[in-house]
Subunit: 382 residues, 2 copies
Amino acid sequence: MSIMTPKITRFLTQNDPATPCLIVDLDSVEQQFSTMKHHFDGASIYYAIKANPAPAILKRLNALGAFFDVASLGEIQQCLAAGISAEKLSFGHTVKNTHALREAHKLGVSLFAFDCEEELHKIARYAPNSRVFCRLTVLNTGADWPLSDKFGTTTDHAYELMLQAEQLNLKATGLSFHVGSQQTSAEAYQQAIAQASTLFQRLQSQGLALDLLNIGGGLPSHYTRSVPDIDYFSTAINQALSEHFPHQRPRIMLEPGRALVGDAGVVRSEVVLTSRRGGAPTDPRWVYLDIGRFGGLAETEGEAIRYRFRTPHDDTSHSQSPCIIAGPTCDSVDVMYEKNRMTLPDELASGDKILILATGAYVSTYCSTGFNGFAPLNEYYI
Amino acid sequence: MSIMTPKITRFLTQNDPATPCLIVDLDSVEQQFSTMKHHFDGASIYYAIKANPAPAILKRLNALGAFFDVASLGEIQQCLAAGISAEKLSFGHTVKNTHALREAHKLGVSLFAFDCEEELHKIARYAPNSRVFCRLTVLNTGADWPLSDKFGTTTDHAYELMLQAEQLNLKATGLSFHVGSQQTSAEAYQQAIAQASTLFQRLQSQGLALDLLNIGGGLPSHYTRSVPDIDYFSTAINQALSEHFPHQRPRIMLEPGRALVGDAGVVRSEVVLTSRRGGAPTDPRWVYLDIGRFGGLAETEGEAIRYRFRTPHDDTSHSQSPCIIAGPTCDSVDVMYEKNRMTLPDELASGDKILILATGAYVSTYCSTGFNGFAPLNEYYI
């Protein structure tokens, strides 16, 4: 998987942009979208805009026929501002405040997620007659950024809620699940599809025919650890769908975020300081960058996402050794890799420019407004 | 410790501000500053502006004679914009990029922290002839938000660095340490003062007379757990200073951030949803607020800082039970209290307005620029 596209390399050479900054190659996003369309033939691809809501990305994907998964009124407004029509939106977050619900309904959004009774009643009241889908809790085994606890409900509870939805004059349309972000195993999808299909059948026997299955997001980007290709996932998922929905396959919805934009972005950062705490050659080596957990790399929390680094000293003639990588703030939790150190060139010194690959997703928006007086990183969409 | 000041109560009643928002009572900040001045007679109080760099706070404290501890060029500019003169600033962060150092020097900042050789050389080069102090690593036992690993160095290494500073034509002025944020024990200060005093003596014997001891920040705010009063800390610290500097006490610098502004602020938030995942009465109760870890309450990471909540159902006639408290985003790590649940009224329902106390520090600046499409919280300084 090539990540440093020629376009990004050229941009860096020609513009020498100040650090820290994020550069996203829109052609990469487009290519990734086409690949996904090809592998999930007939499915509707809802881009989870939380991954990166830059207008340039929204416009490019809209022109290609994408749909959009939004988590808040703010994200709805971002989509509309990019020229996307409200019918192409799914309000996929199961926790929505009443103001957002009311406004979304007014703006023409008509597809909503839920996973509990209170939310269902809120939707019935503030967005009457909408289409709704219920989110199931499914196993997140295999995900580097699991999501299971906070959202979703049991199959039994979902069964009751879907019947209740109809009584509330909502259109009980389908089911959704999420196998966790940066998922590296297709098994989680297969199990979840099987789980959903039994509920389709139970509801069918009550006269409620669902026609939508939202298999969520979770497909991985390419960080340090190698991950399976999209082929592996699409084959397994399509097989599971054929097996568990042998007669009629419901409309399939996907919600990729990371998988569409993650690999398309590169962060450029500067080394601010290198030091051995204590001064002895045997003391641990610390490398401080001008971007850290509060400047956008929030997913390094718990060392969950391990990015790939490119430095000016990467060729094999230079010695390398493990180091701790920290962000620029004076907050001690702003340390990215300490338990599992990164192996980087010994020559690395303050002033060196480094590249952090596959940072197109979940970077720009996690950035703090200005902790320690550091401005949010600059973004370039090329 | 009264936290809901009459002024804040009145402001909420009269303005009914949209949630989430932060209201800070500037008179509380002033009172806290005066209390601290009184307890640390003769010491210079450097407000660590990272805790809350709102111009209204900077101006108020400047008028009262405060000094300011800054962590970046951005924070220096915020101080200058608030009318604070550069001589009142200490660039207390040990990790500074060269651009920031050069600009700080140009702007008239002349006091800098360091803790390693590379940084010392950077200061000598980009801010020649400045006063410098070396940060020691000290025990952070007793701190809810410890800082030990990322910053500071050993006494032996500091000894060498301070002598080297003089050779680099810098003014080796003093030593600093930080006992960790939200520190609840005075012992950490006592030990650190003893540790610093031995180094003062060793350097004195080499003809290097230091005249500054920066005892950092760390004094606690009032969250859920009761903490000792400022009396307890100031008595212990002053005793330790008299004991370990019996002949001549150096100039003492304090860097309070949280202790000056934490208790002065209140966050107003709305309950977005309450639900029992799974639907059964025995299932855990979740309470989702419109502010969470990415909307400003970042210090709930690891459930470290436990805020106090006020709800509309707090009087004793209402039943209460433990609940999990989560933020509004669709990120699963946006959960604030789960392992150690909060006991809140059972009647709590979506739409209820709640107050989160002692949120004046480390809230506004930790806030993300717009994760999930949620705008940063509004701030009111009254």
